[in-house]
């Protein structure tokens, strides 16, 4: 029967109840997704390789370094291997199909990435032709690409002189065993790019965007970074060397300050929703001043009235929050495929689900207790005087 009163009260303003519940749903959903994004970014940085350094121009990631730097960096004590990495920036059919492509030294590249495993095709196959490429398993499933497929990409940084597309043949698919490395990237031969520029078949900046530098065993990262940066301290172009973790962080913030923006807006929205819900529930309770007076005149104690108000707010918030959690779990997969390009480790953790439920419960208790405290002080005589 008190349950019936509770339910009847909730349904006496169905639209308001629905909107309030929906707000809690959105807040909890947002919390789960934000946490997954933050957790994924943290994992990308914390699980990043400690043996790989990224050497780039001190000016920006978009300014290339001369090819000649490769051999000088390789001679720095503590450096085992140097791999050229060039961002290609090609477009597949439509710019909205964005994914990363890098031109690399195939064999050296493979040795530097023990976390990656070829699940189809092989390195040998890749080396057979310069237009061959390998792709991550997520990229393969995104576009339905299989080994043997031809992929044409339009150059944006490196346009073909005759306006045609660059042709690539998928010969291998890799899988990543680390949450800091995505499965959404295409790697192809640096020679293919380099020779096209040399012959004038394509235009674009020369040089190399990044020298991926592998540390020798036992070498100290900080010392090696210092030594590499020291090389070109006085020009012609200063370089910046970073650990992979640091590079990931930098790369993340380079992709527009999307994540930072996401956090601050998301956090703000969460906060705003919290107060909007609280306000609505306080208003709803205020409308029931007379009802509370009636209950008091019938002999309901403050404790019972408190219980009723808290139970009502708690029910609404828990139902709303529960739906938010379920939606977040359902949305994990589609959201992941959207975020995984820059947050490979995007997962909704079970502890954030608990947090979401606790947030909803906390909101419900506060939203129920605040009017209950007011009801406690309310003189039934005054309450009964207030018009319905």
């Amino acid at each position: 029967m008190p349950i019936r009163l509770l339910i009847r009260n909730m349904f006496s303003h169905p639209i308001r109840t629905l909107l309030t519940g929906l707000s809690v749903t959105i807040a909890v959903f947002l919390l789960c997704v934000l946490d997954a994004a933050i957790g994924g970014l943290d994992a990308a940085v914390s699980q990043a390789s400690r043996t790989r350094l990224w050497v780039q121009s001190a000016v920006s990631l978009f300014v290339n370094l001369p090819d000649s730097y490769e051999s000088k960096i390789k001679n720095v004590p503590g450096v085992e291997e140097v791999v050229r990495f060039q961002w290609f920036g090609g477009v597949y059919q439509d710019p909205s199909n964005f994914f990363a492509q890098f031109a690399v030294d195939a064999r050296k590249w493979k040795e530097s990435y023990p976390e990656l495993e070829m699940i189809e095709g092989s390195l040998e196959e890749w080396e057979k032709a310069r237009t061959n490429c390998i792709i991550g398993t997520d990229l393969a499933s995104r576009f339905g690409w299989k080994v043997g497929d031809k992929v044409p990409l339009t150059g944006t940084i490196f346009p073909k002189s005759d306006g045609s597309a660059w042709d690539f043949t998928v010969v291998g698919i890799y899988e990543s065993k680390s949450t800091s490395i995505d499965q959404l990237t295409m790697y192809f031969h640096y020679d293919y790019l380099y020779e096209s520029l040399d012959t004038g078949a394509a235009g674009g900046p020369g040089g190399v965007g990044v020298f991926l530098t592998r540390l020798a065993e036992g070498a100290d990262a900080a010392t090696t970074i210092g030594a590499i940066e020291e090389l070109y301290q006085n020009g012609p172009q200063r370089v910046r060397a970073t650990t992979e973790g640091e590079f990931q962080r930098q790369f993340i913030s380079m992709l527009g300050s999307v994540p930072t923006l996401l956090y601050s807006i998301g956090g703000g929205v969460l906060f705003a929703i919290f107060f909007a819900v609280l306000n609505t529930m306080l208003m709803a309770a205020r409308e029931r001043t007379r009802d509370i007076g009636i209950l008091k005149s019938l002999g309901f104690t403050n404790g019972k009235i408190t219980l009723l108000l808290v139970a009502e707010a708690l029910t609404l918030c828990l139902v709303g929050g529960g739906i938010g959690v379920v939606l977040a779990i359902l949305a994990e997969r589609p959201l992941w495929s959207f975020f995984s390009a820059f947050i490979p480790g995007f997962t909704i953790q079970s502890n954030v689900i608990v947090q979401g439920v606790l947030l909803a419960a906390g909101l419900g208790i506060v939203a129920g207790l605040m009017p209950a405290i007011r009801a406690r002080r309310l003189n039934p005589v005054t309450a009964l005087r207030s018009e319905a």
Binding site: M1, P2, R4, L5, R8, N9, F11, S12, R290, D291, G293, I294, L295, K296, S297, L298, G299, F300, T301, N302, G303, K304, N379, P380, V381, L384, A388
Partner: protein, 235 residues
Amino acid sequence: MATGIDIQSVTKTYSRGGETLRVLDELELGMAGGTFYALMGPSGSGKTTLLNLIGGLDHADTGSIVVGDTRIENLDGSDLAQWRAENVGFIFQGFNLLPVLSARENVELPLLLAPLSGKQRREQAERALELVGLTDRMTHKPKELSGGQEQRVAIARAIASDPAVILADEPTGDLDRDTADSILELMQRLNKELQKTILMVTHDPQAATYADQTIHLDKGKLGHIEDNRTAATGS
């Protein structure tokens, strides 16, 4: 079983904008158990205030109120609420039903505070509604009822937990003559058949004739008490 009410030198003041208003001024009043009293007096003379004090909805500044053998100024908080649930039924001019509940659910409300099973509650509520003649309106919401029917539901709610005292504040104030008369007859029956002690505030002299006695309140003090039974038979 009939419960008397004893008002001993009760004072109640309200302060408004710096000045204090003495609403009840050392009021002395004794009411016998099982009697139907009408309470009359000019607007602002403290009738509602007195009712609220007797029902424990508000506290007197000084003095003592004894209902049956309970000195209610000794009760506080949940004890007072519980005492009210067991001993007092309120009936208001504005009916004061919960709009979201049906007639029967409204009547069941005070029974939630008693140790009853759901089935017992339901039966007891139905008996109360039967007594006020509303068996065919039990599932209606207040807004689907007429004013007289709403007041019957409120009366059923007031008597559902079988309290000894019924306090009614202008129960017929919003009703037309015929409806008012039937409500007053019902109140009379509660008094005669169930031995309820009833204190009913009214502005209507004709309504007061349904009561055994009429108490006249004036400026927070007792005016005089009129015996309607002798007055009626004596004329």
